[in-house]
Amino acid sequence: MTTLLEMSGVSVSFDGFRAINNLSIQFAKAELRAIIGPNGAGKTTFMDIITGKTKPDTGEVIWGPRNISLLGLSESAIAMQGIGRKFQKPTVFEAQTVRRNLALALKTPRGPFAVLRHSTTRPQQARIDEIATEIGLSDSLNRIAGELSHGQKQWLEIGMLLAQDPLLMLVDEPAAGMTVEEREKTTDILKRAAETRAVVVVEHDMEFVRRLNCKVTVLHEGAVLAEGSIEHVTSNPVVIDVYLGRAHA
């Protein structure tokens, strides 16, 4: 297995509260991984560290084939390295059309002057149409994103992630607020994406994780509690105790 991202010995405290506690984790170039854990386990902070929003107190985050450290990079530079993120609460640009949202995410040069000169090419236009079909929004391309339903916004954000074409996708609760059918479709898209890249899904919903049928990492109090197949971790007594036990209590 070739490693895409390796996080080692990372700790972060907020006002004395240790959100991440000596966390070490790694992802392969093409894999689907689910990260689960109770509230406050540090799932979102973990994503914040990778994407550069939060700087860790100690530890290292090593990225890519050239083993560069992500810690010195800005959020936008990290994104340009090929790390895309979908937020828990769907965050799309509500004042703009679906097409413009997708075009904004599309992999093109990001500097101000490049953007000023940019005009969308035919292949790019075709790619937008393709993604729109995949996320079921091809009829809504010219609608304002703010008018979309919650589920559609989720889709749009997944579409933006696809348009970005990152090497690592960090997906925070993609299935929240979706119907069973929509969940199935989301699972398909994520699985397909994971064939060529790393897809890391943070999820609360065990059913959804079961459907993803991938390696699972359980976070607890900012550290890895268990790792393995869903059967493996759900039969782990410690996991049952801290997470499932509490959830079913």
Binding site: K53, E75, A79, R85, F87, F93, G111, L116, Q125
Partner: protein
């Protein structure tokens, strides 16, 4: 399919058409080129209003589109005015000095000429030495370059420092206001090299056109202002029409999200802040020759706040909204404060509009913000219903 720029932005065509018609109407009614139905001073007022519309567009781009509530754009406007004012004043004084010395038996040395000009310009602040900032004042071309370079560099450096430290929202507004206040206080000093609170005057007299009547000069400046407004409108509409517009509005609505898409947000903000500062300065350079005088009071923070009020009343986030707001409010303001509005006698109290105009403006601002967040420009949405 990608439609043409005009097809995507029909409002640009309508705006340019309206501006052309307005320019034509004023030309036909003016003293120099038409029936003299409107006075030269009113032509100047209209020309100045067009310049205010231009700076309002710049303000709308930086605030309404990019979400940066700058309270410093009128300072850039003023810097543009000072930059052109220095040449106007220097060249005109030089002309007068040479005329005065022409009768001497010996031709004056360059030093004598320079001293005489210095005496004329800086006598009011008790000095005759040319400060270093007047180094280029002899050359129109260099001073025109200063109109663009000085505010451009100031905006670039200030913006770089502020955006790099991720100062946003109200803190950034306060910072820009502090910059404006510092600049105006500095200019108020007699040893600032710009004649302190006297400012620069006589700017309506264009060197080389001493014999041209003001009526002609006023209509030429009116045309230049109309052209600048049209060009500025077209420029910003073009900048914002494509992907740049998407990114800039994205920054306004959710800066962090744009960053996570890989766009260097600071660079975009700096770009918008700087180009709008330059356009504001160009507007100022056209405004002050029509006003005839510029002094540090023009740069005071209140002016930049008015600018924000115009844009809010006109409608943020649409260029024609800014134009409507600036034109409507500034003309109304001259009418009310210039004694045009009749005083209202309530029996127990007489409302003098010169005193009460600011209250009326303040109330309108609050009302627009609360009840019509889209401003006057928002009314056009009722006219043009989108499918």
């Amino acid at each position: 399919m990608r439609k043409s720029f005009i097809a995507q932005n029909p409002s640009v065509l309508w705006f340019l058409l309206a501006l052309a018609l307005f320019t034509l109407a004023v030309s036909v009614l003016s003293e120099a080129t038409g029936s003299a139905l409107i006075s030269t001073s009113f032509v100047k007022t209209l020309g100045k209003t067009l310049c205010l519309c231009l700076v309002a567009i710049a303000m709308d781009v930086v605030w309404g589109y990019c979400g940066i509530l700058s309270l410093g754009h009128f300072a850039f406007f003023g810097i543009g005015g000072y930059a052109i004012g220095m040449w106007l004043m220097y060249a005109r004084t030089k002309g007068l000095v040479l005329q005065g010395l022409a009768g001497n038996p010996l031709p004056p040395t360059p030093q004598e000429v320079s001293d005489a000009i210095g005496n004329q310009i800086f006598g009011v602040v008790g000095s005759s030495q040319f400060p270093w900032i007047w180094g280029f004042a002899d050359s129109l071309l260099l001073q025109l370059a200063m109109v663009v370079l000085v505010p451009g560099l100031l905006a670039l450096v200030f913006g770089w420092l502020a955006f790099r430290s991720r100062v946003t929202g109200v803190y950034l507004s306060i910072l820009t206001q502090a910059m404006t206040l510092a600049l105006s206080l500095y200019l108020f000093q007699n040893d600032s090299g710009l004649r302190g609170n006297n400012g620069l005057s006589g700017l309506q007299n264009i060197p080389g056109f001493e014999t041209t009547p003001q009526a002609t000069i006023s209509i030429v400046f009116f045309w230049a202002s109309a052209f600048a407004l049209g060009a500025g409108y077209l420029f910003f509409a073009w900048v914002l029409s494509g992907k740049m517009g998407s990114v800039v509005m994205g920054i306004r609505d959710n800066e962090a999200r744009v960053r996570f898409l890989g766009y260097p947000v600071e660079g975009f903000k700096l770009f918008i802040f700087t180009i709008t500062a330059i356009v504001a300065a160009i507007a100022g350079a056209l405004y002050y020759p029509q006003a005839g005088i510029i002094n540090p009071g023009e740069i005071a923070p209140i002016a930049s706040i008015y600018l924000a009020v115009w844009v809010a009343i006109g409608g943020r986030g649409r260029l024609y909204g800014a134009v409507i707001g600036a034109a409507f409010v500034s003309l109304l303001s001259s009418w009310f404060t210039g004694g045009g509005a009749p005083a209202v006698n309530l029996g127990f109290y007489v409302i003098q509009w010169t005193d009460w105009w600011l209250v009326l403006l303040g109330v309108s601002f609050v009302a627009v913000t609360l009840f019509f967040p889209k401003g006057i420009g928002g009314l056009f949405d009722y006219l043009v219903r989108k499918p």
